[in-house]
């Protein structure tokens, strides 16, 4: 996709405004509380928009739209039952209790309610997760940039027939080559292939079998660069293709790592200077830009297909492949990873609650609200915005399927749709919308990781009594370190097949146990620190255990391919049980650990 001058101007204006606002807000910051909690002066409307746009980030644009391409509207569950009811429960029960405790992080609250052991374990888990998540988000952002700007290296496959071509393309799925190269061009006839090669200047040409005459014709083309030619032969395995491409392809002019560094630096600058205030107020701009852009893609994409009726007809005419694409509730024995039982129990009752109640990068902004009431209102406002989000993120994934059912890497579905249908001149606005969504999640993650490591690790164990200004300096240093770490970890993320599955799997490891001790701590006064500590540790072991058994047993423990929803549910139930039993065996916590920490304790 070629951006023109106007597109670049729009992008530049957006980036300058975002970075400028962050740096401007940074000039007002004098203390650690200003940096980590925006001085507790944030209004409800800004927090609500920030909550929503932070949740719709790289993972959603790339991962959810990609999964919607494969599985349909069932992905809407992640924003509907996975957000709306939970945000309302959080608004009326959990968020007011967190806000009243005057803490900066969720682990800090756990420390006040339970003990330092629970706080430390929770802080280390969240700290490591947020740091890794930062890298994954940066990687997803870079993938988007590369696809949208057509920066990926290209290759042409010259196959004798369609079947041989498809065999090679399928081998590419999930390989490093398939992730980093643009979708391959198919050279079905000599004249057509020569034209493709001249126009696209590929980095390598793969022949499915030797063809000396045609190879000589290619070498005779008047090209800017010499294009390596490789012959696959009998071995068409992913490993063979990876090795062949890595060894012979011409070095691309733009690497994925350049995009990762570029995004890391831009996001890092305003987050480093402006802290939470910069994150939230830039999120407001990003929320408006992203929603407008995505709504336009929704309506324009459907219009391009001939209207809503034509769009539905195209999807339904694809037969078995799209039989469930317009069904939110799938049977418990579905082949996908989204059976209703997993969606309701694992997502609706555990993962969603853990995310909106226990995730530091989400909860932190409500801790910076002007008042307890405004903290509640921000979550209710966010839940209302969430109602429309799947229409802007999930449905475009299905539109991408109707537009082009041959996309081999689903993570690139949304980007391909935008690249193919958007009219010239308007591209900059949509590109800014994507960047807005991507940047909002990365900045939240970065700021939360820095807050957590500063408050729960550095302040707790190294300098508990320093001046508040000292923590501001430390927070900025840690933010800088995480930018560097995130860039390195982003490279590692490229090894995984689906970004979204990776993040869900990581979350599953500790979301259930983490939520169990928060829920019991708020709703049951009998919960003790020892009970919570044992429940958290054993709960995580149970998660590891289930994953290990599922992987190593001769017949998998769970009957769906990716059982993260079920594992979340069972680890939550197990942790609740262990925490409750151990709590009943240990003495009750003193009055000061219950007052203002347990729902309706004094009323």
């Amino acid at each position: 996709m070629a951006l023109n001058g106007i597109d670049y101007a729009v992008l530049l204006i957006y980036l300058v405004c975002t970075v400028g606002l962050g740096v401007y807000l940074g000039r007002r910051i004098k203390t650690g509380q200003d940096y980590f909690l925006a001085g507790r002066k944030l209004p409800w409307w800004a927090i609500g928009m920030s909550l929503v746009v932070s949740d719709i980030g790289a993972i959603d644009i790339v991962g959810i739209a990609g999964s919607a391409y494969l599985y349909g509207i069932v992905l809407g569950n992640f924003d509907w039952i996975g957000c709306v009811p939970v945000m309302i429960i959080a608004a009326f029960i959990f968020i007011p209790i967190f806000w009243r405790a005057n803490v900066s992080t969720v682990p800090e609250w756990l420390g006040a309610r339970y003990n330092v052991g629970v706080r430390t374990v929770s802080a280390l888990i969240w700290g490591c997760f947020l740091a890794c998540n930062l890298g994954i988000m940066l990687y997803a952002t870079a993938v988007m940039l590369s696809v949208l700007l057509d920066l990926n290296p290209k290759f042409v496959i010259v196959a004798n027939d369609e079947a041989a071509y498809m065999e090679i393309v399928q081998s590419l799925e999930g390989t490093v080559t398939g992730k980093t190269f643009a979708p391959p061009f198919h050279g079905s006839d000599e004249a057509g292939t020569l034209k493709i090669i001249t126009e696209h200047n590929p980095n390598i040409i793969l022949f499915d079998s030797p063809n000396p005459d045609f190879q000589a014709k290619i070498q005779g083309l008047p090209l800017q660069n010499e294009i390596p030619i490789a012959v696959l032969g009998e071995d068409r395995s992913p490993e063979a293709i990876d090795a062949l491409v890595a060894g012979q392809a011409r070095e691309p002019s733009w690497h994925l790592i350049y995009s990762i560094i570029l995004m890391g630096v831009i996001i890092g600058v305003y987050t480093l200077f402006g802290g939470l205030a910069a994150v939230v107020y830039t999120d407001v701009i990003q929320c408006a830009v992203m929603m407008l852009g995505c709504i336009f893609i929704l309506f324009y994409g459907i219009a391009q297909l001939g209207g809503l009726e034509a769009f539905v007809d195209i999807i339904q005419s694809m037969g078995e492949r799209t039989a469930n694409h317009f069904h939110l509730v799938l049977p418990a024995d579905t082949d996908t990873s989204f059976p209703w039982s997993g969606i309701f129990l694992g997502l609706g009752l555990v993962l969603a609650n853990a995310y909106w109640i226990g995730n530091q990068s989400i909860v932190q902004r409500s801790l910076g609200a002007r008042s307890e009431g405004q903290a509640k209102a921000s979550y209710i406002w966010g839940s209302l915005l969430k109602v429309i989000i799947p229409f802007t993120v999930v449905v475009p994934g299905i539109i991408a399927l109707a537009h082009d059912p041959t996309i081999t890497d689903a993570d690139k579905a949304m980007a391909t749709l935008v690249r193919d249908i958007m009219p010239p001149g308007l591209l900059g606005i949509f590109f800014a919308a994507f960047l807005a969504a991507l940047m909002s999640s990365v900045d939240s993650c970065l700021n939360s990781a820095a807050t957590l490591w500063t408050k729960d690790i550095y302040q707790r164990f190294f300098r508990p009594d320093a001046e508040d200004e000292h923590y501001l300096v430390v927070g900025r240093i840690i933010t800088f370190c995480f930018i560097v770490f995130g860039i390195f970890f982003a490279e590692f993320s490229a090894q995984f097949d689906s970004i979204y599955t990776l993040i869900q799997t990581l979350l599953t490891l500790f979301q259930g146990p983490s939520l169990a001790i928060i829920v019991l701590g708020v709703l049951w006064k009998r919960t003790t620190g020892t009970g919570a500590f044992v429940g958290l540790i054993l709960g995580m072991f149970s998660t590891f255990g289930m994953l290990w058994i599922n992987e190593h047993a001769s017949t998998p423990l769970f009957q769906i391919e990716d059982p993260f929803l079920y594992i979340a549910w069972w680890s939550f139930v197990f942790s609740m049980f262990v925490t409750a039993v151990v709590s009943l065996m240990t003495p009750m916590e003193p009055e000061e650990k219950l007052r203002n920490f347990v729902f309706r304790y004094n009323k």
Binding site: W44, I73, G76, W80, I81, V84, P85, I88, I89, A91, F92, P96, F326, H327, L328, V329, L330, P331, A332, D333, P339, W340, S341, F344, G348, R370, S371, G373, Q374, K376, A377, I380, W381, S383, L384, K386, V387, F544, G545, W548, I549, N550, E551, H552, A553, S554, T555, P556, L557, F558, Q559
Partner: protein, 95 residues
């Protein structure tokens, strides 16, 4: 512990042992979920949203009210929360 088990080549045996213990109750529960069918599942979703609406209606006034410090005006969050949940019922009804 687990690396030792793997190193000893016992991983599949150990995993199968635990999997067989857990699979029995798991299969029974899965059978119940499958028997529910999609219509039954939708009823579970509707019941969840409806119970939440009822719960919101029973919350105390001070728990659902936001007071504006500057104007002194109070706003109830109850109608907004209920509107969000009603939208969920409609969405799950149509899809």
């Amino acid at each position: 512990m687990l690396p030792l088990v793997e190193a000893a080549g016992l991983s599949t045996t150990v995993a199968d042992f635990f999997a067989n213990i857990l699979r029995g109750p798991g299969d029974i529960m899965r059978g119940w979920m499958v028997a529910f069918g999609v219509t039954g599942a939708k009823c579970v979703f509707f019941a969840y949203f409806t119970l939440l609406i009822i719960w919101i209606l029973t919350l105390r006034k001070e728990e659902v009210t936001v007071k504006n410090e500057e104007t002194g005006k109070s706003t109830s969050l109850r109608p907004f929360a209920i509107a969000a949940l009603v939208s969920q019922i409609l969405i799950y009804y149509f899809f």
